[in-house]
Symmetry: D2
């Protein structure tokens, strides 16, 4: 069992002229999963408290609007001000993509990095594991 | 000559699985043209001072990423707090879409409609005509 | 009870810099609802059998990624080769938008309009009413 | 001088509720630059002859619809069936993002990888260097 799973339903607009989900749309699916995960971890909020510094994504197979995708997510690293999430996107048994993101915790004005506090760190640890 | 023309270059991501520009994307092309027009009329700004109340759009022919589109724009009505813009999107001689939008001038907090002032009204009149 | 309801969950990427759902995104919500409705009516399919000829949309109140939207849909007109759908988008009790689309039934190559056959016409009638 | 430069103009819809260009949109900017580059290299075409296998992107600073971005692009590796492109996105002197993509040359049906032929390989070499 991955630590966290978010179901995504691709729609017609997500596909491009090759009739599969466009590469850029997967970054939105990752963002949607992060949002659901952070709400689970921290409760309701209006604006992401962290900013995206880096994405790596490997496209393993294509998907269409007929698929339902599970975005599996796990904490892969907890640093001082930043943390990594690892993702596996699957359509049933089929691996669609693997990804990793570096996220930086920010102050309220979204201007400067801040240290991840101990309470948040403890909550994050609950999501360690394999995505 | 239409009162204002904004050139738009469709890209791969704008197309959907039928290999033509997706219907929703045209509203973004209209928005891009409004932005360029308002900058021409009012000078640099950060946030649109008006809000969109209504769109009507008729799709006349399809377009692809191989096309270049001219969004022709004209003021069609100047009311008390709102105004209408009319648009014709063309790819060369071919008519791609016709549209009309109702826009409402808003106060700075984007909360309440405000009367269109005389100076703005005078500038808008320069763009009256056929799109 | 509206004849058909499709639930849509706005996400972060659907919002623009005014922190509400961007106007163009609503056309994608309408498209998503049409897809779910047509699947309900006609069963599984790969490509929409109809093309969009016209959209009218009135924006009544704004929505954010915190909302869940119900797209209520009804058949408003059944013509020879075309039909109209009417929509109401609501967030709970709040009206967010009203829309109407003209759709044209197409042959398999998406080149020419075709007459809506009697079986389809009969199925469409089940969705007549107020959205 | 980078081997190839493609100018991109962010628009209002590219921004998200933090009032800067959304992370997923940068993958579309990379795609736009690849398209312009491939047209320069190979002449007009309808469908990309290669598929995207991997993206790495580092976000260095944020951009808004007030910016113009140059996507600088260079060939970073030419393999048997795949090749790498390196990118630097700049707004004037400011570095906005750095990226690298792995692309796989495909047969006409977009089903199987094919060897990059010598003529294409020779053309690609013209774009080697620093992005």
């Amino acid at each position: 069992m991955p630590p966290f799973v978010h179901r995504v339903k691709p729609v017609w607009r997500d596909m491009d002229a090759l009739q599969h989900v466009n590469n850029a749309v997967y970054l939105t699916y990752l963002e949607n999963a992060r949002e659901a995960w952070w709400r689970e971890l921290a409760g309701p909020y209006d604006i992401f408290p962290f900013t995206l510094a880096r994405v790596e994504i490997d496209y393993r197979s294509s998907a269409t609007w007929r698929d339902e995708l599970d975005v599996r997510l796990a904490i892969a690293r907890i640093g001082n001000t930043s943390f990594d999430l690892a993702y596996r996107l699957v359509a049933g048994d089929r691996l669609v993509a693997e990804a990793r993101t570096v996220l930086v915790m920010m102050d309220e004005g979204q201007k400067n990095p801040v240290r991840i506090d101990e309470a948040t760190r403890a909550k994050m640890k609950r999501f360690e594991g394999q995505p």
